[in-house]
């Protein structure tokens, strides 16, 4: 009887269709409550800024001077600013830019960081120069560098892509090329450790070429630190963009981003504190939710933690 049960169970286990690895990751991810809440919020923000403008159709730059400095009402759920522009519409429009900058700059930083990290970790010859290069970038002060770059390239990009797209490209590129260093260092460290592992040795002994080695054996194993630094990178890019807008650099002054909204609202802190709260909350909650997602992903992607 007992034997039969065990056998039947074993049979059932073998008959079960092979489970997708990503389903396992999802199962593990689900156990992290913070990550779930963070994911839900992040999806909500993304939907809000993409579908939002179709539902809330007020133009973010339209000035209705008679309705200035209004508190929350049905016509303006978040109130209006000192020129009568609708704050909700500006939050949505600002979120589009901030999130787009965050995601794009993150992708760029991730690509650069992974490329340099894997190359440095895998190739003994390039390790030294590439890591000194990374140190060099770490030592660069970001804001003065940005000022110089914006001054040098603004007019050319503006002429080619128009004012808003030009600045968008500029900011994304600048944030991207100044924030890949941590990813590169983490990836290099992991690659160095992986290189000495038995399965890599085994792969080498059967003559796997270096390119295949990286794509088949190394990269999948450093996915988890890359994913985590990606989530952190989004947060970092949103904050840097906010800082730039806060300093009055970057996008034209009537082009809302969360950082710009925050900057504009600081003058009215005492009279209309809610104007600071909306963009402030949006930035901090988005960054927090992305951090939680990263935290959950790290646990879920690590096969040693997964399933425990």
């Amino acid at each position: 009887m007992t034997d039969q049960t065990t056998q039947a169970q074993a049979q059932a286990y073998e008959d079960r269709p092979p489970r997708n690895q990503w389903l396992d990751v999802w199962d593990q991810f689900k156990t992290h409550k913070g990550a779930l809440v963070g994911l839900a919020f992040f999806i909500f923000i993304i939907l809000g800024v993409t579908i939002g403008p179709l539902i809330w159709t007020i133009d973010a730059t339209y000035i209705d001077i008679r309705a200035r400095n209004e508190g929350p009402s049905l016509a303006h759920p978040f109130g209006t600013d000192q020129l009568g522009r609708d704050t909700l519409a500006r939050m949505i429009a600002g979120g589009q830019t901030s999130i787009a900058v965050g995601l794009t700059a993150m992708a760029l930083a991730l690509f650069l960081g992974t490329l340099i990290g894997v190359t440095a970790g895998f190739s003994k010859k390039l390790d030294g120069p590439l890591m000194r290069f990374t140190d060099l970038f770490l030592a660069l002060p970001l804001l003065p560098l940005l000022l110089v770059i914006i001054m040098l390239f603004r007019d050319r990009l503006r002429a080619t892509f128009g004012p808003e797209e030009g600045i968008f490209i500029l900011i994304v590129v600048v944030i991207g090329i100044t924030s890949w260093m941590n990813t590169a260092r983490i990836v290099r460290g992991d690659v160095l450790a992986l290189k000495e592992r038995e399965f890599v040795l085994a792969a080498r002994s059967i003559g796997t070429p270096a390119r295949r080695m990286v794509t088949r054996h190394i990269l999948p194993n450093v996915m988890s630190p890359i994913m985590v630094s990606a989530t952190l990178g989004i947060a970092n890019a949103i904050i840097t963009e906010s800082a730039l807008s806060f300093l009055g650099l970057g996008f034209p002054s009537d082009f809302p981003t969360w950082g710009r909204l925050l900057f504009d609202a600081t003058d009215w802190l005492q009279q209309h504190p809610e104007r600071v709260m909306w963009p402030g909350l949006a930035i901090s909650l988005t960054v927090l939710s992305v951090n939680y997602i990263g935290d959950g992903l790290r646990d879920a992607l690590d096969p040693r933690i997964r399933g425990r």
Binding site: T61, N69, G248, S253, Q270, Q271
Partner: protein
């Protein structure tokens, strides 16, 4: 205990004195105790000849004084001199090359020694000494000699005829300093005389007791001040530093200070502070006008080194119909209400004050007329041919780059004006540049207001004193910033009209207030009717004083503290 009693006695004695004299604001010198003044920029020196900063000028004006200064209406009034010399009273010779000042009788320095014409002469020598780098040298421009026929008479001779000879020794920028104290501080040694620079001996109502650079100055009443019973305050605590918000709050909300200088704050913010009931704001209008400059040259980056120079006229802003339409579309009253409140009035002139120079000929611009602007453009054949909502002139779309410095009020102005211009088919791109870069005059930066690599730009300008000659000469052809001048110059729009240059030359040779006023008005009208500049707001100065401080008369033509000798403690 004894100390306390003595203190109480002193306080009650003061109380009685105040009761006896308080109503008429007269009484013995120093009866009203301490007055606390806060400037949110801190003075670093008490010698205006070594600093161009307003804060230093104003702090120094408590101690050292000029021969004549401007009152709150911009009129000259004698200060250390007996009267203001004019051609009529014989003080100025017919061709304006000589002006004769006579000192008041019995003037003494705060150390008790007499003020003589030698001191006046020395003030000129001090500022013009070789290697001194005097900050107020332009006040003494063209002075060839200062003679002292007797102890009270000073004769200033100019190398050229000066229709307006009131530069030297007039206003807070050119006060009289004591020869005995500064005799060894000429030229390169000037900055080394720390004692004299921090604690000048003066004729003013107060003397410095302690000077802490960039922090606090304490002053006490000048025992030898020329007017009996003045100043009413025994001491002054002059605190520098912080920001305009904190300064405003300390006077209007908490009442810690009696007087706060130059509150550049949004009208709502000031109104809210004022609601606390501890103090009140005072405002006065000088010559500051927030204006939009319209570039007459083409700032296209494709032109390389020749961009924004007279070699390439602007493709559409050289058309007066476009400029006039831009002006008509602006609602100046609304802008002013939002940006400055009571500290501004809408204006149609770049020369709005003093009153005798203010033209009435352009006031039509005060009323917004978008329909009229559209009709004007349609009539000029500048219409939207490709249906994108933007008009074209000869195939060039009316797209403007509109730059200004980073400042919340200016960005609000930009947003509003952008919307109005979009209603007349003009597309606007906004740009704001950090003020230190924008006004930085660095020829290496592409973002300065002189280079003007944009189609329109907005900022405020004004002129010192009350005579507009130099100011109106800003828009002559040779004042245009260009590579040959290292991009220096004041004619930002690069306006160039021989008729205007002639008027400017004529003004430099014309004496007599009426004739000069007529010329100044004519020049102003010429600029305005050509829409080279679009004036928006005549900006005032706002300061605040506590309800218990009386006698404050805000003066934008001279030091704000010009009449501190007449200040007193009122019942709040």
């Amino acid at each position: 205990m004894k100390y306390t009693t003595a203190l109480l006695g002193a306080v009650s004695a003061f109380g009685i004195a105040t009761m006896a004299f308080g109503a008429a604001h007269e009484g013995p010198r120093g009866r009203d105790g301490d007055v606390k003044i806060i400037y949110w920029q801190a003075p670093s020196i008490m010698n205006p000849y070594l600093s161009g900063g307003t804060k230093e000028l104003e702090a120094a004006s408590l101690v050292i004084e000029p021969l004549a200064r401007y009152d709150q209406d911009g009129n000259l009034m004698p200060w250390l001199a007996e009267s203001v010399p004019t051609v009529e009273n014989g003080g100025v010779n017919a061709d304006g090359t000589q002006i004769t000042w006579v000192l008041k009788e019995g003037l003494v320095w705060s150390d008790g020694s007499p003020v003589t014409s030698e001191d006046v002469k020395f003030s000129w020598e001090y500022c013009t000494a070789e290697g001194g780098g005097c900050a107020q040298a332009e006040k003494y421009l063209d002075v060839t000699a200062v003679d002292t026929p007797d102890d009270r008479t000073v004769v200033v001779t100019f190398g050229v005829g000066k229709p307006f000879p009131y530069g030297p020794f007039v206003g807070a920028q050119a006060p009289i300093i004591q020869k005995a104290q500064f005799a060894d501080c000429l030229g390169p040694k000037a900055p080394e005389c720390t004692d004299a620079n921090f604690n000048p001996i003066g004729t003013g109502p107060f003397t410095v007791t302690e000077f802490r650079p960039n922090d606090v100055i304490t002053l006490a009443a000048n025992e030898n001040y020329r007017e009996e019973g003045k100043p009413a305050f025994a001491t002054v605590t002059f605190k520098g530093g912080g920001d305009a918000t904190a300064a405003g709050r300390s006077v209007l909300e908490t009442g810690e200070f009696d007087y706060a200088w130059n509150l550049q704050l949004a009208p709502d913010v000031i109104a809210q502070m004022e609601a606390a009931g501890k103090g009140m704001t005072v405002s006065a209008f000088g010559t500051s006008v927030e204006r939009i400059m319209v570039n007459q040259t083409n700032p296209d980056p494709a032109l390389g080194d020749e961009r924004a120079t007279a070699a390439h006229p602007h493709p559409f802003l050289t058309d007066i119909a476009v400029r006039q339409a831009l002006s008509m579309a602006i609602d100046r009253a609304l802008l002013t209400e939002i940006g400055y409140g009571p500290a501004g009035t809408p204006t149609c002139n770049v020369l709005p004050a003093p009153a005798i120079y203010a033209s009435m000929a352009n006031d039509g611009c005060l009323v917004q007329d978008i329909a009229g602007a559209n009709a004007l453009l349609d009539g000029a054949g500048i219409v939207d041919t490709d249906g994108d909502g933007v008009r074209e002139k000869d195939g060039v779309p009316l797209k403007l780059l509109y730059q200004t410095s980073t400042n919340a009020v200016r960005q609000d102005y930009q947003a509003l004006i952008k919307q109005w211009w979009s209603e007349i088919g003009v597309e606007t791109e906004l740009r704001n540049i950090s003020a230190s870069v924008f006004f930085g005059s660095d020829p290496g930066s592409p973002d300065t207001f002189q280079k003007f690599f944009a189609d329109v730009e907005m900022y405020t300008n004004n002129f010192d004193g009350t005579d507009p000659e130099a100011y109106m000469a800003n828009w002559t052809c040779d004042q245009a910033p260009r590579p040959e001048t290292q991009w220096q110059g004041n004619n930002m729009p690069r306006y160039c009209d021989a008729a205007y240059d002639d008027l400017a030359a004529q003004m430099a040779q014309t004496s007599g207030l009426e004739a000069r006023a007529a010329l100044a008005k004519q020049m102003n009208d010429m600029l305005m009717q050509n829409y080279i500049m679009l004036p928006l707001t005549h900006r005032g100065r706002v300061s605040a004083h506590s309800n218990t401080l009386g006698g404050v008369v805000l003066n934008v033509w001279d030091s704000e503290l010009w009449n501190i000798a007449d200040w007193y403690r009122a019942d709040g």
